[in-house]
């Protein structure tokens, strides 16, 4: 996958963060920004023709395992943040009857 495409995903997400007036849309944009980031990092860590780094003493180039380890952690954190933000926005909706940013913060 082309790194340019992942950058486009991130730019769309940033546009979403800037333009959306709604909590749910903002949460989705933040999630999307994170997905773009994960894709970009995985892209930089891939190696065509490389193998997984679990065998010892092979002469073929191995893939750098650190980006994948890091990105799994990022996915976990991202899902936690997303779920907590969604839970709080449900509570906000029950209290206010609206999840527009301009209504909820006075």
């Amino acid at each position: 996958m082309n790194p340019i495409l992942t950058v486009i995903v991130m730019l769309v997400a940033i546009y979403g963060l800037i333009s959306s007036t709604n909590i749910i849309k903002s949460v989705f944009s933040a999630t999307m920004l994170e997905s773009g980031l994960i894709l970009l990092f995985l892209n930089l860590g891939t190696l065509n023709g490389g193998i997984i780094p679990i065998f010892e003493g092979v002469s073929i180039a191995i893939v750098d395992p650190i980006p994948q380890a890091l990105m799994i952690t990022t996915i976990v954190i991202g899902s936690t943040v997303t779920s907590l933000a969604l839970i709080i926005s449900i509570k906000v909706f029950h209290n206010n009857g609206s999840i527009e940013w301009k209504d909820i913060i006075s």
């Binding site: 940033i14 963060l17 800037i18 333009s19 959306s20 007036t21 909590i23 903002s26 949460v27 933040a30 920004l33 994170e34 980031l37 970009l40 990092f41 930089l44 750098d64 650190i66 980006p67 890091l70 952690t73 990022t74 954190i77 991202g78 936690t80 943040v81 907590l84 933000a85 709080i88 926005s89 509570k91 906000v92 209290n95 206010n96 940013w101 301009k102 909820i104 913060i105």
Partner: protein, 537 residues
């Protein structure tokens, strides 16, 4: 064994937090006191040990090669922060021990946060820093929204989303650095930084990381989450947030900007500008507020700006003054928020104009309030004065900066005149006199005494903390008392004749608020400005 003490700093609070959550007995949260004692003893042991074996400052987990392992690194900077953290958490535990004794989960989150915060201070790994900072944001959100009050929920979701976006910006920067260096260890990156500092990708990474820190530290223009979040939380949590947690951004600026990148691209001037902007804007907004916790929260923005002014000099008296202000601000702002908690509980209102006659209702608390106010406005003999004098040491000859600094000081006095008027008069409505328990009075008194001690015996403390002789530095003289009296009289008159009249611009300022999408837009603007300043193109 002694080399593993930093690991205990991280795991012991988390372990105790789990016990508090799992054991179903009342008052199990009394465990936090043995925990704090153990941490304090271990801290002293570690400091003594570190002087004998300086190589213990790097802890590598699992015996891997340091370039791929998870590592902790400890030097003088972290040690001061760790000591402050252990002390401050002790104060908060003590204060909320009785007032929150039914809320087991509250103590679970609070103790867990201590472990995570200590880990974030010690981490020597750029990615782990991201993980800890995100965890701090998550737990802080839970603590802000703990009471599930309407305003708290709104502020909480905004804080969570903004911090997570800021952390994402930081992570993109980390990714670029990993692409260049192939490692995440700060010490290793630091050694090779001088060769690659001119690479475009490093400049971009620097801009992205600094943008994240600007939001985390609530510097203008990305400040709007802080007054909401700090203003609606419980008072003990507000004290914790304003006193300590917001300073993780300053710690990161010291660690990443000064230490790892080596203050590149003339960015110290940008930070100086940012510090003055935050200090001024924070004070101006604080002038317009009428809610006591909002006033204090806006002052946090202004005081963090002052610290950034000091830190932006990179070395010398001003830098140490800025660092010292981090400790002093934790003491007096923590005290102010804790006092505000007692006052709000007695008067059942947050409006400054509805609270009168504090001296007759709560004599001891109002005495502490006077000490805290004197300290934040920079009265001689108190700790706020020492660090403020040291911050302005580097630009004593620069007329513009000096005038601006004094204006900020007078602005602080003006908005605290509003708070000071609470002390006099008679209560407007009959108050239910509630005597704050001893568990609330003792920590507050401790903080007040400490601000006196630091204000008077600052020289040995300096020698001890920074191994820096302050004897040559002229901090205290008789003229400063006269200066202070003049500033107080100016400030009080400004309050009586301008601010109290509540003109239209002041009303507009009180309503002024930057919405979430706009904050994101401003974050992008800050990013582009920073990247342009680094000279990428």
């Amino acid at each position: 064994m002694n080399g593993l003490i930093p690991v205990i700093f991280m795991f012991l609070p988390i372990f105790v937090a789990l016990i508090i959550y799992l054991v179903k007995r009342p008052f199990i949260h009394i465990l936090v006191f043995p925990l704090q004692v153990i941490l304090a003893v271990l801290y002293v042991l570690f400091v003594i040990d570190l002087q004998r074996f300086p190589e213990q400052n790097l802890i590598v987990f699992g015996g891997w090669d340091p370039s791929i392992a998870i590592t902790f690194y400890i030097d003088a900077t972290n040690l001061i922060f760790i000591g402050l953290t252990i002390f401050f958490w002790f104060i908060i535990y003590y204060y909320s021990f009785k007032s929150n004794y039914l809320e087991k989960k509250f103590f679970f989150f609070l103790t867990f946060l201590e472990g995570v915060f200590l880990a974030a201070l010690m981490s020597n790994d750029l990615f782990n820093l991201f993980v800890y900072v995100e965890l701090i944001a998550l737990i802080v959100t839970l603590l802000i929204t703990y009471k599930k009050v309407e305003n708290a929920l709104k502020a909480g979701v905004q804080y969570l989303l903004l911090s997570s976006v800021a952390a994402m910006f930081y992570l993109i920067g980390v990714l670029f650095l990993y692409y260049v260096f192939g490692t995440l260890n700060i010490q290793i990156i630091k050694e090779g930084m001088a060769e690659v500092i001119d690479y475009r990708i490093v400049k971009l990474a620097y801009g992205l990381m600094m943008t994240g820190f600007v939001l985390k530290g609530a510097f203008v223009p990305l400040y709007s989450w802080l007054p909401k979040a700090h203003g609606v939380a419980q008072s003990s949590i507000s004290a914790l947030l304003s006193g300590l947690i917001v300073k993780i951004a300053l710690y990161l600026i010291i660690r990443i900007h000064h230490d790892m990148f080596g203050s590149p691209f003339g960015f110290n001037d940008v930070l100086l500008f940012l510090g003055f902007l935050s200090a001024l804007v924070g004070v101006i907004f604080a002038l317009s507020q009428k809610d006591i916790k909002q006033i204090l929260a806006y002052h946090t923005i202004s005081q963090v700006g002052l610290m950034l002014i000091g830190l932006s000099f990179g070395s010398g008296v001003s830098y140490i003054g800025g660092f010292f202000h981090i400790l002093n601000h934790a003491i007096f702002k923590g005290l102010l928020f804790l006092i505000a908690g007692v006052i709000i509980k007695v008067y059942q209102t947050k409006k400054v104009n509805d609270i009168r006659g504090l001296f007759t209702v709560l004599p001891w608390t109002s005495l502490l309030l006077v000490i805290a106010m004197l300290s934040i406005t920079g009265a001689p003999m108190l700790n706020g004065f020492v660090s403020k004098t040291m911050i302005k040491y580097a630009f004593n000859d620069n007329l513009i900066l000096f005038t601006l600094f004094q204006l900020i000081n007078i602005g602080t006095i003006v908005s605290f005149s509003k708070v000071a008027l609470m002390l006099f008069g008679k209560p407007l409505a009959p108050v239910k006199v509630f005597h704050a328990s001893l568990t609330q009075h003792i920590p507050m008194t401790l903080l007040a005494i400490l601000s006196f001690i630091i204000g008077i015996f600052y020289q040995p403390i300096f020698q001890f903390l920074f191994s820096f002789a302050a004897y040559n530095t002229h901090v205290f003289d008789f003229l400063s008392i006269i200066d202070y009296v003049v500033y107080v009289s100016i400030g009080f008159n400004v309050y009586l004749f301008i601010i109290k009249k509540d003109f239209a611009p002041i009303k507009w300022l009180r309503q002024f608020y930057i919405q979430f999408p706009t904050v994101n837009y401003l974050m992008l603007v800050v990013l582009i400005t920073f990247v342009l300043f680094t000279g990428v193109f």
